[in-house]
Amino acid sequence: MLRYVFRRLLTAIPTLFVIVTISFFLIRVAPGGPFNQEKGLNPVIKANLDRQFGLDEPLWMQYLNYLNNLLHGDFGPSYNLPDFTVKELFEVGLPVSIQIGASALILALVIGSALGIIAALRQNKGADYAVIATATAGSTVPTFVIAPVYQLIFATTLALVPVAGWAGGAFANKIGPIVTLALPQIAIVARLMRGSMIEALRSHHIRTARALGLSDWSIIIKHALRGALLPIVSYSGPAAAALLTGSIIVESIFAIPGVGRYFVEAALNRDYTLVMGTVVVIAIFTIVFNLIVDILYAVVDPRVRYD
């Protein structure tokens, strides 16, 4: 198993390399540059800035420099937030995004799974229909609708929570972002769980367990749920990567100082280093969580062997 993990991490390096390369040249091919849009910027100052950040060198040189810095854990300075390096921005923002994302993910997995199991056990009955209806609603309504509606009801009308802001991570400020992020995930997890649980309950080995007179508890928890978990496990990998790296919508609507909002701003401002930093962080999260999923898979299903 250890050897497998090691090999997977090794194969992640070329993937990461390809992603970095594609992203680097894509954003460079795009018209504009970090110091172009501020109109009236003195050409001399612009040239100075370009020289200071090495932007006057040939592109391939910049690329090699960037790779070299990256290997040493240096993401470079942010061009548009000149007082910070990209690393500093992440050190401040990432904990906030992870906190919100992880809470939403855990909430979604627990509530979603529970709803899905209830629906599967009550298939085609009232509780099932209620869960399906909720799940459809949850996965249909976009976050950028949920968030303002939440603000409208709970902040503006009922005045129970602040409309937006972080306030150093006060609980009341976190509810909105977490709930907004979690709702669609709850819906997806519930649907997935319902489907895979129904399939698991229909399988032949469950019939065997019934024929042997085993208890409902053993049948549902030991024999059905373990198999039904597999789709949830594989879903939660990419979901975790996406949630923990911050949501643009939620962070901008609730004015949270996470890293999700950097991406769009940085791309529009051609803040090359910040864009690249975000890409690398997201890619690393994706790779790591996919690896965790594969390992969990082997834990749940003995047929999966990695050697």
């Binding site: 032949h204 019939r207 042997l212 007179g213 085993l214 053993s218």
Partner: protein, 538 residues
Amino acid sequence: MAGNETILSVENLKIRFRTLDGIVDAVKGINMHVKAGETVAVVGESGSGKSQTMMAAMRLLASNGEAAGTIDYRGANLLNLSKSELNEIRGRKVTMIFQEPMTSLDPLYTIGNQLMEPIMRHRRIGREAARQEAIKMLKLVRIPEPERRMKSYPYEMSGGQRQRVMIAMAIANDPDLLIADEPTTALDVTIQAEILNLMADLRKRLGMSMIFITHDLNIVRRIADRVYVMRLGEVVEEGDTRTIFSQPQHPYTKALLAAEPSGHKEPVPKSAPTVLAGTDMRVTFKIGGGFLAGDPVYLKAVDRVSVTLKRGQTIGIVGESGSGKSTLARALLKLLPSEGAIQFDGRSIEKFDPAQMRPLRKQLQIVFQDPFGSLSPRLTAGQIVTEGLLVHDPSISGKERDRRAALAFSEVGLDPANRNRYPHEFSGGQRQRIAIARAIILKPKVVVLDEPTSALDRQVQKQIVELLRDLQKANNLSYLFISHDLAVVRAMADHIMVMKDGRMVEQGSPEQIFDHPHEDYTKRLMAAAFVDHAEAKV
């Protein structure tokens, strides 16, 4: 040997299912009983309600099914016991094993874990005691190295071994009654025989009763004291095994018994010309390998086998699953890459590319096993049958094609009026007729029949065998008949090849192979398939 005490009695049992097409009556008020220590067979074709009756007894009906009447086990009506009362009987006094050995065990737990669970639950003993019990059970069902096997997962075992584990789980609590639903159908014939012997032996040792659900009359003859014959949800006849087989009363029982394939084929004259010949055929499959997947493994699916098929001849190729018989046939038709020489009509075709093969395809046809999978679901039966004409006779008009389709339909005994229907609107036997029509409309010389009757009920099987015989006579066809069902092969073929693990073990005339086999494997195969009634009865 059977006691007099009735332990299970089914009275006026009715089972119905609510489906999208309305209510389906699966079982229409049947009566049955089982006495202590006896083996009862329930025989019938698919859809006769035999499995559903037993599912109802175990309260395992699908959620859209409901049962009315009584199923009485020693004074308790199984149909309306509470769940906890039911689970005192289920798995302890009355147990059941199923047809699907590959999926009936939980893939995620070791077999030791699965075997100990019902023991601990019903006998309320500790883990270590249960473990010892479980090992004892594995020994009882003759699993080698039981201690080590306790730690195995189901995927690490063969189908036969899994079925043994299933049996061990079922009998672990010393039940009164074991219900077996086609427990050997999915297994190879030699394994089938071993499992049947094991079950008969265990029944005797443990003194339990057994209900054996099957469509295979050979098994009934071999194992049962009494027989119930079911058809369309009703019991049409019951009686002790000997009487049923010697003096069947009901026309359906008679038809069932008569449906055993019969007849034999005269050999072709020595002078008959050779149509298709393969010399030293080899087929190798690569397993695994590719990008980052490690070294591939090579599997010799067919290992130096030679075949010579003459005009009008039927060669039967027999063997168990994985023996390479289908692969050999496909390689001969050049549907798979292979090594070795192939001659068709005197021409060497082993080097032909697909374009060169195309004109020959007309004369080399194939009928597959699965009548559900071999017909394109979105074409009409007529379009399917005439597809070959589009390739080989593109000049003929649509009208003419339609006429020929109608003709081909009549030839295979289907109503031509149905040629615009879609495959899903036909029964299994009718679909196989469509597949046959598709092959013969091109007037081929050679037809490969790849298990053409294996997915069909016995009676339908018999009709298809007869149809194939008639077509052979009428068109002087040569058949390569692949089957694991020795009875059908015996009725169809005039030359037989026995294959095992990609090699040819033995070949010869049916008399030689069936009555005087030389090789050990052939002997075992024959012994398993045609056990004499007297010696196997326990």
